[in-house]
Amino acid sequence: MHIKSDVAISDSGFVFVPATGESFTVNPIGAAIIHMLKENKSVEEVSKQIFENYKTDMATVEKDMNDFVAMLKQYSLIDTND
């Protein structure tokens, strides 16, 4: 699972895809997840990291991660070649 290499994310949570010209905004947790995915961490590793850093439970993280990754796929921000 990789975020497409040309996807740029700024500190303010602004995501820009040069290939399509589309832009998105993400909240701070969303930005943290995208940063980690760009560092080639697996979804499991990212989930674990989120669970460690935030006041929540693993079931919630897994459910929300699934949904978020599905949105990233829907918006074509994820390389489908893996």
Binding site: V15, F24, I29, Y54, D67, Q74
Partner: protein, 452 residues
């Protein structure tokens, strides 16, 4: 390192046609307390969902309404509209503030008597008064507002039998320039029905014409319609005076003032657009004062305002059950408040406010209730902060009609608490339990046993 507050990750596509909500970050302020009592404590102690009524707000509302009218007119009387909210604690708060009772059925009449309201201070409205109801009303000297001719003849007959005079008024319907015209209740002004009924009453030996009543509609947004209505009632009263030398004691303008809720489909929020009680008061009182009543013979002005006095005094607390995504990608949140206890979600876009802090990030969300029924939709599209499972929400302005029109359906009805003016919390209606409901039921002998 301390863990940070969790919020679900969110990604939103920026579209040129899409309203950008980042400018609206101040739109939501969490509602953590009601009258200084923490929402979380209320739910911990009394469970979710929970209706919370503010006694302070009720008293503030009725005092403000009285002031609005009394500053403009010498004789004003409010009557609490039982059907809007007939919890005894609510009714008695209004009675303590000087309001009479306005009822529309024998059941409500009994409830008012049970609340120790003197019969002569009960106004009996509505199209369905049984003979038993009428007898009781005559007995208690109540003000009977006649809805149709059949009722008029019944009163004539029953009062004659009882050898007691009935105190009556007629309900008048009329064209006030608004739509829909509520011509199903009472006697029509324009076609002469009302005048005809008044003449019948004036010629009766057993009926005393005490007043004139109208109720032009509900959730009215036009103060001017009330001015038109007050003018027409004043004309009738003056015609009676001129023909029979009989002064009617009161003019009852009914209710129908809009609350601050948002009607579905309205663009601007109700809190900004809907007229204030002062605007209604100005329209009604200036018409009466400028009419042909002699200054020392102005009739008592009765108001049966319900919704505008109670709506914002009640909140409904609930809890997030789950967040889901629909097949078309829309975000949905399921809460434990269903349309069976929040009937008004069919006609209002109720404001839903989180009860705990959140960030400025928001998402367009469909809010569903917990019922396994497709119609159970609380908001079909609302831009909400990101709520987690277990978070609490406050639905505002739910005081009118919900606690009378609610039903036991799929779930049992929850508790209602009232926060008094000293911030003390009282349970004023217990939550329902299975045994209470089973008491209504009977099982035929042959259905008692089965084997599965």
């Amino acid at each position: 390192m301390e863990k940070q507050r969790y919020e679900r990750p969110l990604i939103k596509k920026l579209e040129s046609s899409m309203p950008n909500k980042f400018g609206t970050r101040t739109e939501y302020v969490p509602m953590t307390h009601i009258d200084d009592v923490a929402v979380k404590d209320l739910i911990d102690k009394y469970e979710s969902p929970l209706f919370v009524i503010s006694e302070k707000t009720i008293r503030g509302n009725i005092r403000k309404a009285r002031k609005a009218f009394e500053n403009r007119y010498p004789k004003v009387q409010f009557a609490w509209s039982y059907k809007t909210n007939y919890l005894d604690a609510v009714c008695r708060t209004f009675h303590q503030e000087g309001s009479w009772a306005e009822v529309v059925s024998g059941f409500e009449f009994d409830k008012a008597l049970n609340n120790k309201v003197d019969g002569s201070k009960i106004i009996f409205n509505g199209p369905d008064k049984t003979e038993e109801d009428i007898r009781k009303a005559i007995q208690h000297n109540a003000l009977i507002h006649i809805d149709h001719l059949d009722e008029l003849y019944s009163i004539q007959e029953l009062a004659t039998k009882a050898k007691k005079k009935a105190r009556v008024a007629i309900r008048v319907n009329m064209d006030t320039g608004i739509y829909p015209m509520w011509d199903r209740f009472g006697f029509n002004y324009e076609n002469g029905q009302a005048w005809d009924a008044l003449n019948k009453i004036m010629r009766s030996e057993v009926m005393i014409l005490e007043g004139l009543h109208t109720h032009i509609g509900t959730f009215m947004l036009s103060p001017n319609a009330y001015a038109v209505a007050a003018g027409k009632l004043a004309d009738l009263a003056i015609s009676i005076r001129d023909k029979y030398q009989h002064e009617v004691k009161y003019i009852d303008m009914g209710g129908g003032f809009a609350s601050k809720n948002n009607l579905k489909g309205a663009y601007m929020p109700g809190a900004d657009m809907n007229p204030t009680i002062d605007e209604f008061a100005e329209a009604i009182t200036s018409t009466l004062i400028n009419s042909n009543f002699k200054p020392d013979k102005l009739p008592l002005l009765i108001l049966e305002t319900g919704r505008a006095l109670i709506d914002d005094a009640a909140h409904l607390l609930g809890t997030v059950i789950s967040n889901k995504r629909l097949s078309d990608g829309r975000r949905t949140t399921i809460i434990d408040i269903g349309v069976n206890i929040l009937f008004t979600s069919f006609w209002y876009d109720h404001k839903i406010t989180p009860a705990q802090p959140f960030t400025q990030y928001t998402e367009d969300t469909v809010v569903y209730g917990p019922l396994c029924m497709n119609i159970d939709v609380i908001r079909d599209n609302v831009n909400l902060p990101l709520l987690n499972k277990g978070d609490h929400v406050v639905i505002q302005s739910v005081g009118a009609y919900n606690m009378t029109q609610w039903m036991q359906f799929i779930t049992l009805r929850p508790r209602i608490v009232m926060i008094d003016t000293e911030r003390k919390v009282h349970v004023i209606r217990e939550k329902e339990n299975l045994n209470q409901l089973l008491e209504f039921e009977h099982i035929p002998d042959h259905l008692k046993d089965f084997n599965l």
